[in-house]
């Protein structure tokens, strides 16, 4: 004799709906969101300029320059790979756009397009070499990191005789390119840089692709277990190469901002930023082992970075301790993240 309760009990618990709170709390980005709110409240309390609406633009700008790269880096990490060359690739993109246009006297836009091709090609090369050799991406991209660092310096010196790219602000197409990559709009009291817009668009796009499309499923699959993913027909190679190319594309976008915001690019820049991108992704809930993470989380990670970096300034704290404070913040954010996730998984 079967009753209603028996039917419910017999239902497959894998598809049973969990309580809303548990579902929300088990999202990878929740920990970072909590941390972001805590840091936000902290600086709201201690730093008067932090409360000024007009300064939101500065904080968002600081966050956006990290966030634009944190989004593809997070996707790549979910796909199970690292890119240590992401920081200097930004400089490479900026330099190549500037140097190509300057050296050959081209319209700036041609330099911009050639730089795009180069940046995406570097990403593709990383992915190709990784799959070709089977080496860990940590090693492959560490190699590219050093290669690009040297190329940035060497080629810049060869082309200009200096270690910074020449000022291209007097060349054709600069004004329009500056409008696209380096402009700002003032909304009320807030001065918003265009990078903030790019950052938000990339975050939305990245989150949509990851959570709502087949490609997103592929990314989770190749990061979780590449062999199993291949066995069920996921195109592992193209997914991974595509992810590296996405990093290349965003490096190009950041590089163009660097170039058109400052008119010249210093060839030694960008070293060390790759870790900031990875850290933002990790704060946002990405696992170092791949297969788990969130694009929105990575963007929140970038926001945490931006708030902390500038919040210390706004609060007027002794800057000797800046790095220490940053380190403590990062550890706390990650621990909160871990704790929230464990609690959610227990339910």
């Amino acid at each position: 004799m079967s009753t209603a309760t028996d039917v419910a009990a017999a239902r497959d618990d894998r598809v049973a709906s969990r309580p809303l709170a548990a579902r929300v709390l088990s999202r990878p980005e929740v920990g970072s969101l909590v941390a972001a709110i805590v840091i936000f409240l902290l600086f709201m309390l201690v730093a008067a300029p932090f409360r000024n609406v007009a300064n939101v633009g500065t904080i968002l700008y600081g966050a956006s320059t990290i966030g634009i790269m944190a989004v593809p880096v997070a996707l790549l990490m979910i796909g199970g790979e690292f890119d240590l060359s992401a920081g200097v690739a930004v400089t490479t993109a900026g330099l190549s756009g500037s140097l190509l246009a300057w050296n050959f006297g081209l319209n700036v836009w041609i330099g911009v397009l050639l730089s795009l091709v180069l940046a995406v090609a570097i990403g593709a090369f990383n992915g190709w070499l990784l799959l070709r050799t089977g080496l860990p991406s940590f090693l492959v991209t560490l190699g590219t990191f050093f290669i690009l660092q040297g190329v940035n310096l060497g080629v810049t010196r060869l082309a200009t005789g200096n270690v910074a790219s020449a000022d291209i602000s007097d060349m054709d197409g600069f004004a329009s390119a500056h409008a696209v990559f380096g402009s700002a709009v003032t909304i009320g009291p807030v001065n918003l840089k265009i990078t903030v817009l790019y950052w938000l668009v990339l975050t939305a796009l990245g989150a949509y692709v990851l959570l709502r499309t087949r490609i997103g499923n592929w990314i989770f699959a190749v990061g979780g277990d590449a062999a199993a993913a291949r066995a069920v027909g996921v195109p592992v190679r193209s997914t991974k190469v595509g992810l590296f190319m996405a990093v290349g594309f965003c490096a190009w976008l950041s590089g163009m901002h660097l170039l058109f915001q400052f008119n010249t690019v210093q060839s030694g820049e960008g070293v060390g930023k790759e870790f900031i991108f990875i850290i933002a992704a990790v704060i946002g809930g990405c696992l170092l082992t791949g297969g788990y993470g969130s694009v929105v989380g990575a963007s929140i990670g970038a926001l945490i970075f931006g708030m902390t970096q500038l919040g210390i300034n706004y609060a007027g704290w002794n800057p000797d301790w800046f790095r220490t404070f940053l380190g403590v913040m990062l550890l706390l954010a990650t621990i909160v993240n871990l704790y929230v996730k464990r609690r959610a998984d227990l339910r």
Partner: protein, 329 residues
């Protein structure tokens, strides 16, 4: 003609047309006349000089030092071996390798004197003439070094502070782009000596957007700031952007120059720069080693030879500009 070939010819033609149409009518490399100082070459025997600095790769300032050293080397028939390592022990190791190679002279920066002392003393005692430049003005005399070419950072800072005072500035923000660099600290401390209302802010020099955001936030936090004093030319140009963003009335002034900065002084976005003539430091270091080797000459009479501070402002920028365009100022 096969279809494929025709298509590729078409593509090549289109690309060529695009390239022609894509040329910039202004700017670019064609504007730059190469104007290398073409002095004669000495007929003294070839000698080798190791030039060892603490520069981070890709710094425009050090590029000028290197150019000075290279020009002097060319003129004096010197084989120049330029090396650098921002890390103290690493730089000391480069001095050791120069000793191992038995070079004829060493020019070295002493920004981290404690790390350098042992190896520099060893080189001097071993009969290799050593000159110091740029950093370590308080430390070089104890190491057997023949001479020192550079700027006393504290004096330069005081000079900058005095200038700020006479201009009627109210509050200065001193932007340090390398946390822990004693030279930069000394500059800001010097500024503080003569212009007490000075506040330091630390930024990460290898992250330009970060530098800009940090200066912007500081300007927003403290409206009393009416001067932003940076420690390097690229940072001054970032500060100009920050001032523009905050529509603050603060003026930008800086230590050290490069080509773009000279243009900014000419354009009025940067008020003035304290110039320590890096080209001269590099040049004198190599040239003095050659003089010592050839004639036994020394420069400075046991005191530091100061290459700065000199000020570049709207009054003399026109004269400096032509040298800056050649990468010599």
């Amino acid at each position: 003609m096969t279809h494929k070939l025709r298509m590729s010819l078409l593509a090549a033609g289109a690309a060529a047309a695009l390239t022609l149409a894509a040329c910039s009518s202004s700017g670019g490399k064609q504007d730059n006349a190469d104007d290398t100082a073409a002095a004669g070459t000495a007929n003294t025997p070839r000698m080798t000089v190791a030039f060892i600095t603490h520069s981070a790769p890709g710094d425009t300032f050090w590029d000028l030092v290197r150019k000075g050293a290279e020009d002097a080397a060319k003129k004096d028939n010197v084989e120049l071996q330029y090396q650098s390592d921002p890390d103290g022990p690493g730089q000391a190791n480069l001095v050791q390798s120069a000793i191992d190679k038995k070079v004829d002279g060493i020019a070295v920066t002493l920004a981290k004197p404690d790390a350098m002392k042992a190896n520099v003393t060893k080189a001097a005692q071993g009969g290799i003439p050593v000159v110091a430049l740029n950093g370590g003005i308080d430390a070089w005399q104890g190491m057997g070094v023949l001479g020192y070419f550079g700027q006393d950072e504290r004096i330069a800072g005081r000079a900058a502070g005095q200038k700020l005072g006479t201009e009627g500035a109210k509050k200065t923000l001193c932007v340090i782009h390398e946390q822990g660099n004693v030279g930069l600290e000394a500059r800001c401390d010097g500024v503080k000596d003569t212009f007490p209302n000075t506040e330091k802010v630390y930024v990460t020099g290898t992250d330009m957007p970060g530098v800009q955001a940090a200066i912007t936030s500081k300007l927003q936090q403290d409206k009393a700031i009416d001067r932003v004093l940076t420690m390097g030319a690229p940072f001054a140009l970032a500060a100009v952007q920050s001032v523009k963003d905050t529509s603050s009335a603060a003026k930008v002034v800086t230590f050290d120059t490069n080509k773009e900065l000279v243009a900014a002084i000419k354009g009025g976005t940067v008020q003035w720069a304290v110039d320590q003539q890096p080209y001269l430091q590099g040049y004198l270091a190599v040239d003095s080693l050659w003089l010592y080797k050839t004639n036994g000459n020394t420069l400075g009479g046991g005191q530091a030879t100061l290459t700065g501070p000199a000020f570049i402002d709207s009054g003399n920028v026109a004269a400096v500009e032509q040298y800056a365009n050649n990468g010599k100022r």
